[in-house]
């Protein structure tokens, strides 16, 4: 997300400040994304543990900020790599995470309007809704494998077993699902992409 839409500065510039020990920049990143890290955790572990995970993850952000490299991806992807790792670790200790995953699917498809928080920055909210809409737009089978893989930490083989689908079907649905999601999330840069494709064809 380009910096100019982000009051308070873009994520990348904030994390660069955090790397120099800037607590205000850190607080700003916390305000932006604590809710997402918390949601990721709180749907699969008890809330007290979700709080602990949020704390651990942001302490890591503070300690490792210097290792963040904007050339390799967004802050959100970096943050969620840390957070998901931590959450899946906890989740794998459960013998039957199925229930939490069903709940996640239900929540995602909940027809009610998502609640808006007063303090939520408009561009963050837009981003969240964009992703939600993209995910809701997937065919149910593709959404299910994406949810089981990402939120449940299940391998393709486990998903196939879990759902009783052939492994080849699961592989295909994972591919289609995430590709579709990627396209939906990068629509605003489609023009650039087309131009690049045209250049490649012209070569």
């Amino acid at each position: 997300m380009p910096d100019r839409f982000q009051p308070g500065g873009g994520d990348a510039s904030l994390v660069a400040r955090v790397a120099h020990g800037d607590a205000a920049a850190f607080g700003c990143l916390y305000d932006r994304y604590a809710r997402d890290v918390y949601a990721l955790a709180a749907h699969v572990v008890p809330s007290a543990d979700a709080e602990e995970i949020v704390q651990d993850v942001f302490v890591r952000v503070w300690n490792k900020a210097a290792q963040f490299d904007a050339a390799r991806g967004s802050f959100v992807a970096w943050l969620m790599t840390i957070a998901r790792h931590r959450v899946i670790d906890e989740l794998r200790r459960q013998r039957n995470p199925r229930r939490s995953l069903q709940e996640i699917e239900e929540v995602l498809m909940n027809k009610e309007d998502p609640a808006s928080d007063v303090e939520e920055q408009a561009w963050v909210r837009e981003r969240r809704l964009l992703v939600l809409e993209a995910l809701r737009g997937l065919p149910a089978e593709q959404r299910r494998v994406v949810v089981l893989a990402y939120f449940g930490g299940l391998s393709r083989a486990s998903i196939a077993r879990e759902l009783g689908w052939p492994l080849g079907t699961v592989k295909k649905r994972i591919q289609l699902g995430l590709q579709k999601l990627r396209r939906a999330l990068t629509e605003d840069v489609n023009v650039e992409e087309r131009e690049r494709d045209e250049r490649e064809v012209a070569r």
């Binding site: 300690n63 992703v131 939600l132």
Partner: protein, 259 residues
């Protein structure tokens, strides 16, 4: 260990790689390929962005929020150690609690099993609940809560002196945030009025929603409490104007904590 992946073999795996759905061997093979292949690395980076955007979707749809006190604790944690890795005290273990929750879930019986031992009256209420729950797409939640051996049930009755045969039940379990509230034998509300459920806990009264009565006088409301195993001091169903924001109106059903 198999041979190195070609680009096209590798591309086939990148979506699953981004979602963390490869087994260890596949994952290592992809990582070896990516280390040597800038083209595939670019594709992988885009897919990684899409995958790690997923928590944003969940946060948009989820009612769960970190408590506001958490920020202070996090800031304190990073201020306290000057940027070195913090070691907190012994981690609380939540596994016993999870084990308990799973024990509860394991008891949730199959359809045929529980159908067999139902009295007909209960069965009628149950099938009604089931139908309504299906209607709102929450059947599984309702059955899990209502049939849980750990479910706590509050029986709502008409207030003293009221000429009414209505009754209601509110089911909570210690492990879940889901709450099922039902009421039966309610009259259709007069025009412009509605039945609304009101909960009082620790001095605060709020409403999780309306109880919409069907043609049989039955109403069902499934909602998420603010925490697992909610404990209410008082539960009321109030007949009131549709736009009411306080429990003002006629209380038709009530339950009060004995404690």
């Amino acid at each position: 260990m198999r041979d190195e992946l070609t680009c096209s073999e590798n591309r086939e795996l990148l979506e699953a790689y981004a979602l963390g759905a490869l087994d260890e061997e596949e994952q290592r093979a992809v990582e070896r390929h990516l280390a040597a292949c800038p083209d595939c690395r670019a594709v992988a980076a885009e897919l990684r962005e899409a995958a790690h955007a997923l928590p944003l979707a969940l946060a948009a749809a989820s009612p769960l929020r970190p408590p506001s006190s958490l920020k202070g604790r996090v800031l304190q944690a990073v201020a306290g150690d000057g940027g070195t890795t913090k070691k907190t005290g012994p981690r609380r273990s939540w596994r016993p609690r999870v084990a308990l929750a799973l024990g509860t879930l394991a008891v949730v019986a199959g359809f045929s099993a529980w159908n067999a031992h139902l009295s007909s009256a209960l069965s009628q209420e149950r099938s009604m609940r089931e139908r309504l729950a299906q209607l709102v797409g929450r059947q599984e939640t309702v059955l899990d809560i209502v049939d849980s051996p750990r479910a706590r049930r509050a029986l709502l009755v008409p207030p003293a002196g009221a000429d009414s045969q209505a009754y209601g039940k509110v089911f909570t379990t210690p492990d879940l945030r889901d709450v099922v509230a039902m009421a039966a034998r309610l009259d259709q509300p007069p025009a412009g009025q509605t039945y609304r459920l009101w909960l009082t806990e620790t001095g605060r009264t709020h409403s999780p929603g309306r109880m919409v009565v069907n043609a049989q006088g039955f109403a069902l409301l499934v909602f998420k409490a603010e925490r697992r195993g909610p404990a209410y001091d008082e539960v009321r169903v109030v007949l009131q104007r549709g736009d009411a924001v306080t429990p003002a109106g006629r209380t038709v059903l009530v339950w009060r904590s004995a404690g």
